[in-house]
Amino acid sequence: MSTLALGVSRGHVELLQFARDRTAVVFTFAFPGMLLLLFGTIFQDSYDQPGVSASHVFSASMIAYGILTTAFVTMGAGLAMDREDGTLKRLHGTPIRATSYVLGKLFLVLVLSIAEAVVLIALGALVFGMSLPDASHWLTFAWMFLLSVIACSLLGMAVSAIVKHARTAGAILNVPVVALQFISGVFIYPVTQLPSWLISVASIFPVKWMAQGFRYVFLPDGMRVNEAAGQWELGRVALVLGAWCVIGLVLCLVTFRWTRPDR
């Protein structure tokens, strides 16, 4: 079979295994949705823009969180687990290539991320009455979503190289996830409440740009005044996410190992 066909075959068993692991489904997949329900219900701020409430802002921003959990955490923890339970060793003794293995993981992550985004958008629209955007905004959503998923997956893979035990993978991976959300305008909005140096730090990482991009898609144009630059900065969103894809790919190529290094 071709590298691509084997990648699809890997993706199929990855999905089967994920769906059969209830802990993963509940704690990885359902968690952003639960958090959105809580935040959207607790915070009732309103903004200058008519018809926009905090729950809408959370619904849009939390898509960034959803991608972080499904792509960054699932990828990083999954790779650490595969290294520990012998999956990688098993595959390395067969003709399958590393590319097919990684494609299988990306396939899993892409399916999970799409499902996660559907859940969050549906909650935003059905529970909190967020209105859905027009076709051109959806187009923007598509490229932003893809860049975000790829960047986060590759970075998750790269970070897994420093995870020694699969047990600790979740804890290690969640440190950047939670920290970046506080400083990237996901949990605390508008981000302009933060000290400017902290905003500068957040601007280095992809999460701020992901959240900002998704707010552009789902919020009225007037909400741009609440962003750090007072603009949606779509070009910069593409640039930063694209750069992180490249950085992630390079890190993966440098750090990927089939087996653990020598004792």
């Binding site: 199929h12 068993v13 089967l16 339970d85 012998g86 098993r90 003794g93 003709p95 020598d262």
Partner: protein, 278 residues
């Protein structure tokens, strides 16, 4: 034709040399066993031959290629039965065998492989529900599904009950009869004796003896120990050939009802060999 050719293989972990200049040759179609105590370097050697581990020095050819650099086509020709894996716990037996079969150009039919290792009744069960012995049999199924020319078995029957072990031996003999070359590491001497055409004893990273199970370490020419009772006293003599002595005893009309003639067992030979290196 040689399946495995090793010259001067060396490997150290953090400056501690665990493989110290091994030479090894395994012919095509041969069942070759590596024996040795824990820490002798069996697994390290096997992992280098499988391409799972880098070597520090020496020449290695496995099916004509260097396992350190060999690619996908080479891996399609070998089979590896892993020890201590815990992967694919949420897949069923037949899902996993089918999945791996898809990696190979000419796999055995998955149902046939599952039947061969006696897991047909468990085909639809999640792998996490298998017992230790069933899990090992699945590992064997996954190792042979690609119809390998060369099969690596690293301590394959650890934890098997005697009946399962006999069943497993039959399976290995059937594979060998088809012409599969097999490299086996084991702790069990009777296993090596039952299966191997030739074997090597490894101690402290070096090969201390190579031979057939019958002839290892000079076992064939080690002579025999003849014991009998004469007037209630136990007499024992170590001789190269017991025939003249027994003829003498018969001629002298000695009571031979308690006569025993013993040759060194493989275990005796093995313990003598590794004893000198501990």
């Amino acid at each position: 034709m040689t399946a495995i050719e090793v010259r001067g293989l060396r490997k150290a972990y953090r400056g501690h040399e665990v493989v110290r200049g091994i030479d090894l040759e395994v012919a095509r179609g041969e069942v070759f066993a590596l024996l040795g105590p824990n820490g002798a370097g069996k697994t390290t050697t096997t992992e280098i031959l499988e391409g799972h581990r880098r070597r520090d020095g020496g020449e290695v050819r496995v099916l004509g290629a260097d396992p350190g650099t060999a690619g996908s086509e080479w891996r399609a020709r070998i089979g590896i039965v892993l020890q201590d894996t815990d992967d694919a716990a949420d897949l069923t037996v037949s899902e996993m065998v089918k999945h791996l079969a898809g990696f190979y150009p000419d796999p055995r039919p998955p149902a046939e492989v599952i039947d061969l290792v006696g897991l047909t009744p468990k085909g639809g069960s999640r792998i996490r529900t298998l017992s230790g012995g069933q899990r090992r049999r699945l590992d064997v199924a996954l190792g042979i599904v690609g119809r390998p020319e060369l099969l690596f078995l690293d301590e394959p029957t650890t934890g098997f009950d005697p009946q399962a072990r006999r069943h497993f031996w039959d399976l290995i003999r059937a594979l060998a009869a088809e012409g599969t070359t097999i490299l086996l590491t084991t702790h069990y001497l009777e296993e090596a004796e039952a299966l191997a055409d030739r074997l090597a004893v490894l101690a402290a990273g070096e090969i201390v003896a190579v031979g057939t199970p019958a002839g290892l370490g000079g076992r064939a020419s080690a002579g025999a120990k003849v014991s009998w009772r004469e007037n209630g006293v136990l007499r024992t003599e170590q001789v190269a050939d017991p025939t003249p002595l027994i003829r003498e005893l018969v001629a002298a009309d000695t009571d031979l009802s308690s006569l025993t003639v013993t040759r060194p067992t493989l275990e005796d030979t093995y313990l003598t060999l590794i004893g000198a290196h501990l």
